[in-house]
Subunit: 353 residues, 2 copies
């Protein structure tokens, strides 16, 4: 565990991306996604992945100078061709496009093709929420998740996130995979030498197993809550994949393994302007709803219930003050990334253990 | 178990509603929601509830001549005042309004206040899907579901449904409560004298229990998948309740108990025009995606995977041919409803057992 100031980590990410030919603006956009995710305590989806993105930029699977553009649009919708740019660059562009359209019509949907892994879906929902909009973000991915009755993977972990401004409170943010856990949790457990709990994966015969090493070549994740997670994954595949013109299911590239070919992930972003729809009552009613939840009786040891996203928000507030605590796996990955690019790592991470 | 032709059950529902002063058109709308739900095999949310709606109409909790209307609107949004009409009447009106706006701008959201229990959320998603639109439907409800760490209920079972046209296949339809199960499943188990499985409910101290009789006065349902179901319930409360101006959380009336006062449930309906966004490729790509899923290897005893909603669709196809099989609880409820209104029950249900 190492702690690093937000600004220092951000600078390092930008430096790495610029080293691989990414523009200052796109590097800054990507750094904000990754560092915000780390500041929430979501180590699996933050700067730990920077090294992989860097390798893809070098190998051609990501286009450093890719310029996402709207290829077709209407009053409340657009289809974005992400031009093989870093997933975060196309995704921020798409969510901002959705927000701009929603600001005129009330709601908008923007789908994205020709993209890649976009990190934590929650970032894009939060991006909308912190500017007064309700946001939804989702993505398809290579199948790693079984369906009820399947002998192998059918859909990806297909994540979905929701964000809403919280009145005088922090934004309400939900970010969830439609699998029992994200694949990164298994990698993390394996790296830490920890066993996989029952109920996470099944082998390719559909039998439960706790052997994490079987994932993903001989075992699939389970969908969250059986048919519910399976149905949500289908919904997300339709909105992100079918509707966007991206790769679907098994066509989506293994972005962490095949570094040369674009993965062609699909995304969907929806923005809603709650102030246009509900007027000034919206913020007052959000406060009323949240205050009510926070006043609910809680079990011993808790002070009050956490709203969705509140734990992550609290971690971020602490990180902005005292730096982001990064797990050893993240620090190790950042050190390797620095070495690969012959860059000097942020001093607080380079220090000996 | 009794089997009744779709047309006969539909006629009976219309007759009952007209008896309580509902217009022919609104009775037909409501009957289609309830009978379609029964034809899917979802006995908890179909005509079994007709008797309760009838009692509310008689007692004043529902307004027989209620006329839902758009109270505020913009290019891609509207807020509907359901005027205390039957939940299905305001909900069908709202989803049709959303579809009409989405047909012009690509996507639209319509929220509803001053409504009541709307039955199965899946009906409204299916309504959109069978007319070539993607639909989302959701509703808030009286809190009966615990949150992680709570000592009592925090949100309602807050259901959400998604529907999409299936190309040459049946529509893809997901309908899920954000609780482990809908409350109706517990009532059903109690009525059948069956025990409640572990993991469904917790008492008001937050302790697991299998005593279904404690629900809902001294026990809460569990949210599906812990923080994920809790987060989804919050999302649905925001879209259906906060945004619509309806009652929120504990303000929502106990529609099955307090028959006199309007419950003021809130709903949200989103329609998306996939053909506007993706053109003719949409249907082809839906086929490609569904054909791929259906070709997945399956465990012994299955022929192929079911798409979300396919089991219900197959039941409906069979019901349209050979009649709807209704459980004893549904038949009993319909008999009581007929007696209460001094109406002659459909002959196939009135026959002695």
């Amino acid at each position: 565990m190492k702690t690093i100031p937000v600004a220092e980590l951000t600078r390092f990410v930008i430096q790495v991306l610029e080293h691989y030919g990414v523009s200052a603006e796109d590097a800054k956009t990507t750094a904000d996604v990754l560092v915000t995710t780390d500041s929430w305590g979501i180590g699996t989806h933050g700067t730990k992945l920077l090294g992989l993105y860097a390798k893809r930029l070098k190998a051609g699977g990501l286009k450093a100078k890719g310029r996402p553009k709207v290829s077709r649009e209407g009053p409340s919708w657009a289809v974005v061709d992400a031009d093989k740019a870093i997933g975060m660059v196309g995704s921020v562009f798409a969510m901002k496009t959705a927000m701009s359209k929603a600001g005129r019509t009330g709601i908008a949907i923007v789908t994205v093709h020709n993209s890649c892994h976009f990190g934590a879906a929650g970032y894009y929902a939060y991006l909308a929420a912190r500017q007064g909009m309700i946001g939804l973000a989702m993505a398809n991915d290579t199948p790693t998740v079984a369906a009820p009755g399947s002998k192998g993977p059918v859909f990806g972990t297909n994540p979905i996130a929701f964000g809403a401004p919280g009145g005088s409170h922090a934004p309400v943010v939900l970010d969830m995979a439609t699998a029992v856990v994200a694949g990164g949790k298994i990698t993390q457990a394996l790296a830490a030498g920890q066993p996989i709990p029952e109920g996470w994966i099944v082998d390719f015969e559909g039998r439960p197993t706790t052997d994490g090493k079987l994932f993903a070549h001989s075992a699939s994740l389970l969908p969250v809550a059986g048919y519910k997670g399976y149905g949500m994954a289908a919904m997300i595949e339709i909105l992100s994949g079918v509707l966007s013109g991206s790769a679907m299911r098994g066509e989506v590239g293994l972005w962490g393994h095949d570094l040369v070919n674009p993965s062609d992930h699909g995304h969907a972003f929806i923005a809603i302007d709650p102030h246009m729809i509900a007027g000034r009552a919206f913020s007052r009613r959000m406060d009323e709803m949240i205050d009510g939840v926070k006043a609910s009786p809680v079990v011993e040891g808790m002070e009050s219930l956490f709203m969705p996203g509140e734990i992550e928000h609290n971690k971020r507030v602490a990180a902005l003050q005292g730096g982001i605590p990064l797990g050893d796996d993240v620090v190790e990955s950042l050190r390797a990334t620095a070495a690969e690019a012959s860059l000097v790592l942020a001093s607080s991470l380079a220090a000996s253990d």
